[in-house]
Symmetry: C2
Subunit: 69 residues, 2 copies
């Protein structure tokens, strides 16, 4: 994972009730999140191009999520 | 969404091939990512507690992902 900051991932896990979080746990969740985001983003880009646009809109993300989830 | 930075989400969408990305698209993907991360994190915290630990380990995240995905 390269884009999503590890500190924020750790904060999400702490907000979920964790007393302590290992660094490898933060990395594991961050990696998974990023892979999932990439998959959704690739589909959203395909949908935007299909609609004749160069800009990815929220509607592209929403349809991509429906198709992937 | 509050934890994951919008700029990084936009970068993931651009890396997927987008020429331009609307702010609402970044927000839509960020919100979804955060909700999904929270769901995984809550399950991971439950699993860590079940194993008698106060620290969330990568193995908790991995098992939570298997249970939720």
């Amino acid at each position: 994972m390269s884009e999503l900051p590890i500190a924020q991932i750790g904060r999400i896990i702490k907000n979920a009730g964790a007393q302590r979080v290992s660094e490898s746990a933060e990395e594991a969740l961050g990696k998974e999140l990023e892979q999932w985001a990439e998959k959704v983003a690739i589909q959203a880009v395909t949908l935007a191009k299909h609609a004749g646009r160069v800009t990815v809109h929220a509607s592209d993300i929403e349809l991509a999520l429906k198709e992937i989830a």
